[in-house]
Amino acid sequence: MSGALEASFDLLLGAALLWLAWHSVAAPQVLRRVAMFLVFGLLMALVWARLGAPDLALAEAAIGAGITSALLLGAGVATPHPDLDGAATRTTRSACGVPRPVLAVLCTLLGIGLALVMYATASTPAPAPSTAAVDAHVLGNPVTAVLLDFRGYDTLLELLVLLVALLGARVLGERLEPVPATAPPGGVAPMLDQLLAMSTPVLLLTALYVLWAGSDAPGGAFQAGALLAGLGVMYSLAGRLQPLAHTPHRLRLLLVLGVGAFALFACASLLWSPAPLTFPARGARALALTLDLALMISVAVTLVLLFLAAPGARIGRR
């Protein structure tokens, strides 16, 4: 009975995801597309929770649905759109030259084929990989243990990717005119101060809790950093944070804090182990929390600066 119920829930979730994905790709207006994508991200978070991955659910809700949608929404409002009225959506000629009906048939066939292959590979009985090393780790949350300890290289390089993306955005932004520091047009809405004053401590507290709990429960540096970045996005949308022409030195320090902490840890770990990025036997929890804190700050500052460099914060003041 509960099996049938679960299967129908999964089926409903999958159908809703497909419907939302189709509308976030093919809806006529750009704002409707982004709104559909936002809901798509939230349902994706539900799917992660359903599949037993609550860390991913938190990350998807905060980053995938939150920050990405804020970026796209700002861009959708700010950049000029020739097909805002849906004129370009109605043509049958696709961007790659193939007529759209043919493309739709091809993609449907590809989807059916992919589904068969995916089901065949996923349902092949494979021995479950061992989780003994992760289970025995001093950090109770296996995903945090993998991110910080077993696959520290991945996390270090991921931070570098974030940094390089920000550098790219800044270099491209240099070619544009600097944005004059102005108050948001139309004055400050009377409720905005209240909303910011109320949500700032709540978001700070939530982010710090998610960071603290991340050692043993779902959560961690990336989720906490994304929550803090959400606070920054709110301030930016309220006109309290302006795009910067130059990054101040203190902010640059915060940007490289995560990479720097990881690099220092990699060097220091050679003192007690032959391989870099290995946790010591004692004091592992404190070290993990310190690394997580540095990571959270870097992720938050990088995401906020990326948002400020993106179109929404630059020309979205209407």
Binding site: F40, A75, I112, L114, A115, T155
Partner: protein, 107 residues
């Protein structure tokens, strides 16, 4: 967890994303489509991990977590590229930023 439902969802999402990427010329629309393709790949990764063990093995989870963060940074960088391209394509080079019509541009 019904494996076939999630496999079909992942495949469908990938196909929809690919169609959106190839069929439309609007950059933000294509960026949305690419993001949906990325979601499809993540979903398949976790579904395969969840088919052998519940909860899924932490390594694919950590990989997808990394992927989500990388995807958002790529999206932001792509949006800046779109912005630069849009402003280049505007006819009037002297006033590249589309200001609101209330006259707040020059004071």
């Amino acid at each position: 967890m019904s494996l076939w439902a999630y496999c079909a969802t992942a495949a469908g999402l990938f196909a929809i994303g690919l169609y959106g990427l190839l069929a439309y010329s609007d950059f933000i629309q294509r960026l949305l489509a690419a993001n949906i393709m990325v979601s499809a790949v993540f979903l398949y990764l976790i579904v395969t991990a969840a088919s052998t063990a519940t909860p899924p093995h932490p390594v694919p989870q950590a990989m997808v977590l990394t992927g989500i963060v990388v995807a958002v940074s790529v999206t932001a960088l792509a949006l800046v590229l779109v912005l630069v391209r849009c402003l280049r394509a505007l006819p009037d080079d002297a006033a590249p930023r589309p200001q609101d019509t209330a006259g707040s541009a020059d004071g």
